[in-house]
Every structure is written in C-alpha cells, then in structure tokens.
Point group: C2
Chain length 229, copies 2
DNA sequence: TATGCCCAAATTGTATACAATATACAATGT
DNA sequence: ACATTGTATATTGTATACAATTTGGGCATA
C-alpha cells in the first residue's frame, strides 16, 4: 500500500483533519469572545483559562497568539492579554477596508462568473429575499453573510478570501447585524438586487461600485448604532 | 511625583521599547527568508535554528507562528514548518488584493489630503523622479516603496495600513523589483505622475482607478518575470 | 526484486519548572 | 496624611523535560 495518500487516485478520500490542541483552544476562545462571554477589555489570565479549558499554558498561549493576529485580542508584554476594545470608528474603518476587498471581488465576479455559479448565487439570493419578505431576520442575516462570502470566494483569489475572512471575524465581534433597523434592512435588500443585476449584465464597474457602497453603508450604520465610544 | 509619565509635561522621556525575545527572533527569521538565506520550501528544524539563534524552542515557535500568519511560512501538524513556496500566480493574486487596498487608499487621499501632506508626498515623488532620471535603480525602488506606504498611511485608516503592510511583506518575498525591465520602469514612472496629478486635482475616482491599474500592472509584470512554476 | 512490517532516530507537540516582570500593599519617613 | 520605597504575591516569559508522531531503513517474506 502506498504510504502517501496524495499520490493515489482516490479523490474521495481526504486526509483526516489533524487537529492540534491549540487550534481547538483558539476556536473555543474565539467563540467565547464572539458570544460575549468574554467582553471587551476583559483581562485574560492564562492559568485561570488553562484550568477551565483543561490544557496547559503552552497551547493556550499559542491560541492567544492566533487571536492577536486576528485582532480579537490585544497584548502588552508582561502585562497579559485583553479582549480588544473596538470603537465605533474602528468598526467603520474595518468596513471601509472590507468594502475595498469586496469591490474587487465583485468586479472580478461580474467579469468572469460562469452560468452555473451564477445560478447557485442567484438561488442563495432568492432564498435571502424570501426570508426578507417573511421578516425572518436571523435567517436573512445568515444568508446575507453566506452571499458575501460566496462572492469573495468566486473571485478565485485565495489570498483575497483569506484576508477578507480575517477582517470579517473582527467585524462580527459584535452582532452588529442585529443593530440595523428596518429602514436599513430594506435598503440593503435593494442594494443586493442591484448587485445581482450587475452580475447578470456582466457590468464589472457597476457591480464593484454598488458593492463598495453597500458595504460602506453597512459600516456607517454600524458605526452610528455602535455602543460605547 | 506623578507615577504616570504620560501626564507629566516631559516630552523628552519616552517609555523604553520593551522587546520580547520572540519579536527579535521573528524579525531575524523574517530577514533570513527575505534575504534568501532560507529559500522557498526549506524545512525549518526547530532545534537547529534554536542553536544558531541561541534561544530555546518556545520563543522560536512563537516567532514561527507570527511568520505563519504573515504567510512567509507554512506549517503542517507534526511535520514542521517550511518557507512558503510562492508561485507566479499567487504573486499576481497578491498584487491583485494589494491593488484593491491601494485603490481605496488613493481615493481617500485624493478626497482628503491636506496641503502640507501633499507637499510632503510631492517631494518624495520628485526625489523618486530624480533617481529615475539618473537611472539609480535601487534608490528609485526605495522611494517608490515609501510613496506607496505613505499613500496608504495618509488614508488615516490603521486597519488598512496594517492589512496592507502584511501583504506587502509577502510581496517582497522575492526582490521582484529587480525583475522589471526598462520599459516597465518608464511606464511605472508615468503612472505615478498621473496619480499625483489626480491627487492634486482632488479627483478620487481617477486617482483610485490609476492606482489600481498601476499596482495590477506591477503584479502582472512580476507574474510574467517570476522564476519557477 | 518488491512488499509489508517493525523498530529506532529525529522531530514536533505538550506540560511543567524556573526566571523575569508587574502589581498590590504594607512600611517608612517627611 | 501624603508620598515614596521596599517587599510579597501574582502573572507572564523562557527553558527544559517528557510524550506523541513522523520518517527512514533494515529485514523477513513472497
């Protein structure tokens, strides 16, 4: 038998996901922050968390480092780590950068999307529209998020996907989605309609412009409704 | 006496830069990769590097983690770390993303740059033009890099600066600058002239478009002249 | 010769021990 | 009482020890 699975013809078998402890810890810690169990500015005491998670300090520290790079945690030498305090302004700046990335993605997608891909995207869009019409807020937001991710994915640029994902994690720090009111919800749905039409027409410039405006607007609304400084 | 130096009038005393070991190690390791001492695909054996750098494995592993997040190193569980092998295609994709970010920066700068800032930028530009005219390649490229960084900085968006910086590190993986020929050099200088004019005119759309094209073109040239796959 | 198995060496992953640093609080002097 | 200094404690940073995993080679077997 071949020791190197990659060289076999088997497409169906994929290497088992070899989890490292620190990855698990990072995921859990991330969840704790996103779910608000740990809130902004909270000090993270290594030994205390170690006891709770039942791991030693080494993997925890590695996980902390991961979240630092994701921007969820801040760290001062010899003074430990804290959950990043995000201000309204930073939130807008975050969306500003995301708007640049998604604009790029939208332009690429409008130029190069294949019929089957477009159909799949359209079906997501339709599903979202349904939830919107039905007033099902949570389901709407899940679909909305998926669509944005999908568009970035369709750009076919892994570096774009990765960069975008990292920033999105920070943006989801607060459940900002819940903050937007009815008006913005309507508006956003319209913007999505426009973007889909631009895709269909293959109008890259338009798709890019609309996407950028859409995300930027979202950021402005988030900034305006953001609690704290 | 006040325990908090920030509140004193003393502007002259600033807190000492408290270096952590792993930061030093990360810097050195980064340099080793960028300078080509460690080349693409090279395995990184922790104990061996530890001996060379005279540190224990813990800070080295932390430094490795940092470079992983920067994209300079890849890592497979239980199989150690390797210097990332960058393909020509990935290089173009990298510049693609950078073009999106710099476009955003250029648009913002064109809208909001202050006269004094513009003057400073213009002086950098002029200096670069001089080196260009004099055929001083290395000096030209240093200035060129500084100008791009400056424009991103002038956007006033720290998240943009940070994201951009991280991607630029990866882009500098190879001294791609040296690869571009005389033709591209001429062309790039012209593009920079156009961008500066757009800034002066306050034409955000134009500045953004020109910047995007400029960076994208750079990426294409890099892709074309890139060694390896 | 080729294949599969098993073991040993090398290497990475995790836990723990020790050192350096920061923080809180009591002691001291003014 | 107030500010300053000294000391104990808590916490982080680094080194080392131990466990788990991978890798490569020898050897038996067909």
């Amino acid at each position: 038998m071949n020791l190197h699975p990659k060289n076999t013809s088997a497409r169906t078998v994929r290497p088992v996901r070899r989890q490292q402890l620190h990855e698990n810890v990072a995921r859990q810690l991330r969840a704790l922050i996103l779910e608000g169990v740990l809130s902004d500015g909270d000090r993270i005491i290594e030994t205390a968390l170690c006891a709770q998670l039942n791991v030693s300090r080494t993997p925890l520290r590695e996980a902390i480092k991961t979240l630092i790079h994701e921007g969820l945690i801040e760290h001062r030498p010899n003074r430990g780590a804290r959950v990043t305090k995000t201000t309204a302004k930073e939130m807008r700046q975050l969306f500003e950068v995301i708007s640049g990335l998604e604009m790029l993605a939208a332009e690429t997608v409008a130029t190069s999307i294949k019929p089957t891909e477009f159909k799949r995207l359209q079906s997501l869009h339709d599903k979202m529209a349904m939830h919107h019409a039905a007033g099902e807020r949570d389901e709407y937001f899940v679909l909305n998020h998926q669509i944005h991710l999908k568009i970035v994915e369709l750009s076919g640029n892994p570096i774009l996907v990765e960069t975008h994902a990292s920033l999105m994690t920070r943006a989801r720090h607060l459940r900002y989605q819940a903050l937007a009111g009815q008006d913005r919800w309507m508006e956003a749905m319209e913007e999505h309609n426009g973007i889909m039409k631009a895709f269909e027409a293959g109008d890259a410039a338009l798709a890019g412009r609309l996407m950028k405006q859409h995300v930027r607007r979202t950021g402005e609304v988030v900034e305006a409704t953001f609690p704290g400084p």
